[in-house]
């Protein structure tokens, strides 16, 4: 299986770090940088630009906020946005606001081009490559050394699915409280209107975006090989 960090647009971070550890092997293809959308933020709105005109965007964000309470509040946005005026721009109004501490991903559903961004002043941080892996001989599971994750799984041309995972929870395919969580394909839930059930397994070209809600560390990977083997 090959995993590739995508190109992060918007001037936030450009990375092409290879992940070769932890049972991962194979080659790394160049991410789809040519048509990467961009993200812009204001107090209440997230705007995605440079998308395929008339296309669809899967928008996924995780926010940490103290604005409404004296304690941190974790909020998640998972939406499908349609460019119905075909201007290559879509916007989403966030309730109650766009938290300063938030991480967002926008994925062009047609092309799979993706961007990760954050409001100005918030430094995005990747989950260390050593913390994630594909379990051996499995094409339907993805494991990360985290206690909590909010995930978005996208398959170009087909749709997007999300999953909130906590260590030891019933959706954690790696049982017990052991500091690892394992996302299983069948546990994902559909995003947007399609209500299409998730595929049985990950496959080449799929994009996985995950955020640790505790500190907003993220990972964005593309399966460049078939996780079950072959290409």
């Amino acid at each position: 299986v090959t995993i590739r960090i995508l190109l992060f647009a918007g001037g936030l971070l450009v990375s092409s770090m290879a992940i070769g550890q932890a049972r991962l092997s194979g080659t790394f293809a160049q991410a789809t940088a040519s048509a990467a959308p961009t993200l812009a933020f204001d107090t209440d709105t997230v705007t995605v630009e440079q998308i395929t005109p008339g296309g669809v965007i899967a928008l996924f964000g995780v926010m940490r906020s103290r604005l409404r309470h004296p304690y941190p509040e974790v909020l998640r946005v998972a939406e499908e946005l349609i460019d119905d005026d075909q201007d290559g721009v879509v916007s989403f109004d966030v309730e109650p606001h766009v938290a300063a501490a938030s991480v967002w991903a926008a994925i062009d559903v047609k092309t799979g081009a993706a961007v990760v961004g954050a409001p100005k002043g918030f430094e995005i941080r990747e989950i260390d490559s050593r913390e994630r892996r594909m379990p051996a001989a499995r094409g339907d599971q993805f494991e990360v050394d985290r206690r909590r994750l909010a995930l978005l799984w996208h398959r170009p041309g087909e749709g997007a699915w999300r999953l909130d995972l906590q260590d030891g929870a019933t959706d954690d395919a790696e049982p017990g409280s052991d500091g690892k969580i394992r996302a299983e394909a069948r546990a994902f839930r559909s995003v947007g209107r399609s209500a299409k059930p998730p595929p049985a397994a990950f496959r080449r070209g799929d994009v996985l975006f995950a955020v640790d809600p505790r500190n907003l560390d993220f990972l964005l990977v593309r399966f460049e090989d078939d996780p079950k083997g072959g290409r």
């Binding site: 909020l75 206690r147 906590q166 409280s177």
Partner: protein, 729 residues
């Protein structure tokens, strides 16, 4: 036993101040924040939220020179969980991210976090996390409406702490410097790690860091080297824990403090409010169970709860074999959300080495029938098996009003005008509400958010309804009331006015929170390029009619060093004034403290000596430890100098007048801060500082008591006698 109990209790009423900072008072850790505490030698209980803070010195205090000394202290906070609102309406508990020695325990030199970089990433401003877990938040300005700072070259930001600690933060491209009012500076690297401590005289301690395995190395200017070695846990929430502390000891030897944990690292239950039903209800975390001291056979032993209110400390056995035991309960607050409960101490028990219970305190929190509609914590102090007295501590317990967590009942104020006051505390001879209270304490707070104590009155109900009070005024905007006026009805005309003229060029910042009006604002911020020395003053006057005493002080403007004190014989300068002049070396150590007595021609004793008793009672004002000691020292010296002067007068008289003139002629310049400040009136106001500096930061962040002293003090004589080797250097 009762005497021992009273001695051990030391139930201090620490009314300290803060605005709502990073931590909500309902769940705050540490001891340097808003609210009041029940304090003993090793532990303190936050009377508002019940949090237990425990303090174990690791090694001795190492004096460097000047005002700098340092040491390591291990802290425990019983509020071991962070709570937050998770996804899908869940409540999520996470272990305290600042703990590094097992659940709840923290050995730290302090860390500084830039906005959005603290572990939970929701801090909108700079945050300093002190060794005891106290979080100090920095704002753009000291008072709302202050003029923007003129940034010195290379400085990109200047910030001020907002909790009454009066710290100034300077940010440059390569480092961040936190300045304390005493002149001490702490330098942090870009990762927020403390790398250097320095005093105004150039004395220093540096800290370097090694990763994998994590290790701290402390080095001071005398070449002493100490190490804190960590071990990896493989646990995400606490990847490194302190393995041992290796300190420089006497005569070239080393002192090793070995931290021992349960093995394997146990699974403990989450906080009870951790609500996700699909979540596994246990988490693997390190649990500290023993610290072996350098002296053979001596150790601290800890037992923690691993279920229920898990992670909390159930007992601590001292090296003397004396023991503290704790039980816990929920402290409930209004609001109905996840911060409306806090796990706090229910019972605190002290047990002697032979198993005899020598003290018991029970804490009951919540609305009380004594004053319906109010929230209070009742501390029942047991003396013997059944005899006890209750102390009722009232609080502002509404998160949505200013002053949340402050120690008073906001309803039903008494008095009017400048003596309007609110009930803060009552002491009852038995159960609260039965019979007549012995004491009542009433207070009034002011300042932004009402967080600065301005008036306190103690009523002695068992003594003919007598009372004593103190009114504080003339606030300098930098943490000091310059004037305190005591009064009462014990005897007629017992009013005493004490004025310490702190930071005279700072002007006055007088905001009345009770009427929401700015009474007077001539405050001038210290230029960012000037030294941050807030503990200096020009004179101190104590008046208790018909007597008055004045002392003039001379501090070095660059270092804050007290160069001289002149005690006036009369109202004006006189040949009979008494002078104490300090001389320091390059390291800031006092090398000479001659007493110079200016004697007038009729050879009378200095008149000021008759008022020396007035010098020492300065507890209501914020006086730095160093200055207070100087005052106390002066009081003693004044008594002695009369005798000395009689013996040395012939020699001193020869240049006595000359020296008097020299010092007095220096006053206008030497007492003043460099006159480079702006004058203006703020357009608006916010006050976020308090009467006291919480703790003197020279002590707060690194200081500890020496190992040898530990057994004679923190244990309070509890337990067995132990034989110790020579104290460490």
């Amino acid at each position: 036993m009762a005497q021992r109990l009273y001695t051990a209790l030391l139930s201090l009423f620490l009314a300290v101040t803060a605005l709502f900072a990073q931590d909500d008072p309902n769940r705050v850790r540490g001891i340097s924040t808003v609210t009041s505490y029940d304090v003993s030698e090793l532990d303190s209980v936050n009377l508002f939220n019940g949090n237990l803070t425990l303090r174990i010195p690791i090694g001795q205090t190492y004096p460097v020179d000047g005002i700098l000394s340092y040491g390591l202290t291990l802290y425990f906070n019983s509020n071991v969980w962070d709570l937050e609102a998770g996804l899908e309406g869940s409540t999520v508990a996470e272990p305290d991210p600042y703990a590094n020695s097992g659940v709840g325990w923290r050995l730290s030199l302090g860390e500084l976090y830039a906005p959005m970089t603290a572990p939970d990433r929701t801090n909108s401003s700079w945050i300093l996390v002190e060794g005891d877990g106290t979080k100090r938040e920095f704002a753009d300005e000291l008072h709302f409406g202050d003029d923007p700072d003129v940034l010195p070259p290379g400085v990109s930001e200047v910030r001020y702490s907002t909790d009454g600690s009066y710290l100034r933060l300077k940010v440059t491209a390569s480092e961040r410097t936190v300045e304390s009012p005493s002149g001490l500076t702490r330098v942090f690297d870009l990762d927020g790690r403390l790398v250097r401590i320095e005093d105004p005289f150039g004395n220093w301690v540096s800290i370097s860091y090694q990763t994998n395995p994590l290790k701290w190395t402390l080095t001071d200017k005398h070449g002493r080297v100490h190490r804190v070695q960590f071990e990896a846990t493989g646990i995400l929430e606490m990847p490194w824990i302190v393995d041992f502390v290796d300190l420089q000891a006497f005569n070239g030897t080393r002192a090793i403090y070995d931290f021992q944990y349960q093995t394997p690292h146990p699974f403990i239950s989450y906080h009870p409010l951790h609500t996700d039903p699909n979540q596994d209800q246990v988490i693997q975390l390190p649990i500290l169970e023993r610290i072996a001291l350098p002296e053979p056979g001596l150790d601290y032993e800890m037992v923690h709860n691993t279920t229920g209110l898990s992670g909390t400390l159930a007992s601590l056995t001292l090296p003397t074999l004396g023991r503290y035991e704790y039980t816990y309960r929920f402290y409930d607050f209004t609001g109905g959300d996840i911060f409306s409960r806090s796990e706090g101490v229910a019972n605190r028990i002290r047990i002697d080495a032979d198993g005899t219970e020598i003290g018991r305190w029970t804490y009951t929190n919540g609305p009380i029938s004594l004053n319906p509609g109010t929230t209070a914590t009742i501390v029942s102090t047991f003396v013997g098996a059944s005899e006890f007295f209750d102390t009722v501590n009232y609080f502002v317990a509404d998160r949505f009003v200013f002053g949340h967590g402050l120690p008073f009942n906001p309803a039903d104020p008494e008095g009017t005008g400048e003596t309007i006051r609110y009930l803060s505390r009552e002491v009852w001879p038995g159960a609260a509400g039965n019979g007549t209270a012995l004491r009542r304490e009433l207070v009034r707070y002011t300042g932004g958010g009402g967080t600065r104590l301005e008036y306190r009155r103690t009523e002695y109900l068992d003594d003919g309804d007598t009372f004593a009070d103190v009114l504080l005024s003339n606030f300098d905007g930098l943490g000091h009331y310059r004037t305190s006026t005591t009064g009462g009805n014990f005897v007629a005309a017992n009013e005493r006015v004490t004025t310490v003229n702190y930071n005279p060029e700072a002007g006055i910042f007088d905001y009345d929170a009770n009427t929401d009006t700015m009474v007077e604002n001539t405050f001038e911020q210290i230029d960012a390029s000037e030294p941050w020395l807030l503990e200096t003053f020009t004179h101190r006057v104590v008046t208790e009619s018909p007597y008055s005493e004045r002392q003039d002080y001379c501090f070095d403007a660059a270092t804050g060093y007290l160069e001289g004190v002149r005690t006036r014989a009369g109202s004006g300068l006189s040949a009979s004034d008494l002078l104490v002049k300090h001389t320091k070396n390059g390291s800031g150590n006092t090398t000479e403290e001659p007493l110079l007595l200016c004697v007038d021609r009729d050879d009378r004793p200095a008149r000021g000596q008759g008022l020396t008793h007035l010098v020492v009672d300065d507890s209501k004002l914020r006086v730095a430890v160093r200055v207070l000691l100087a005052l106390l020292g002066l009081a003693r010296a004044l008594q002695a100098v009369v005798q000395v002067a009689q013996q040395l007068r012939d020699r001193l008289v020869a240049d006595g007048m000359t020296r008097c003139r020299q010092l007095s002629s220096q006053l206008p310049r030497a007492f003043a801060r460099p006159a480079q400040r702006r004058r203006r009136v703020a357009a608006a106001q916010r006050l976020d500082q308090g009467i006291e500096p919480l703790q003197d930061l020279r002590i707060d962040h690194l200081d500890s008591r020496p190992t040898a002293a530990l057994f004679s003090n923190p244990t309070g004589g509890q337990g067995r006698l132990i034989q110790l080797p020579d104290p460490l250097p």
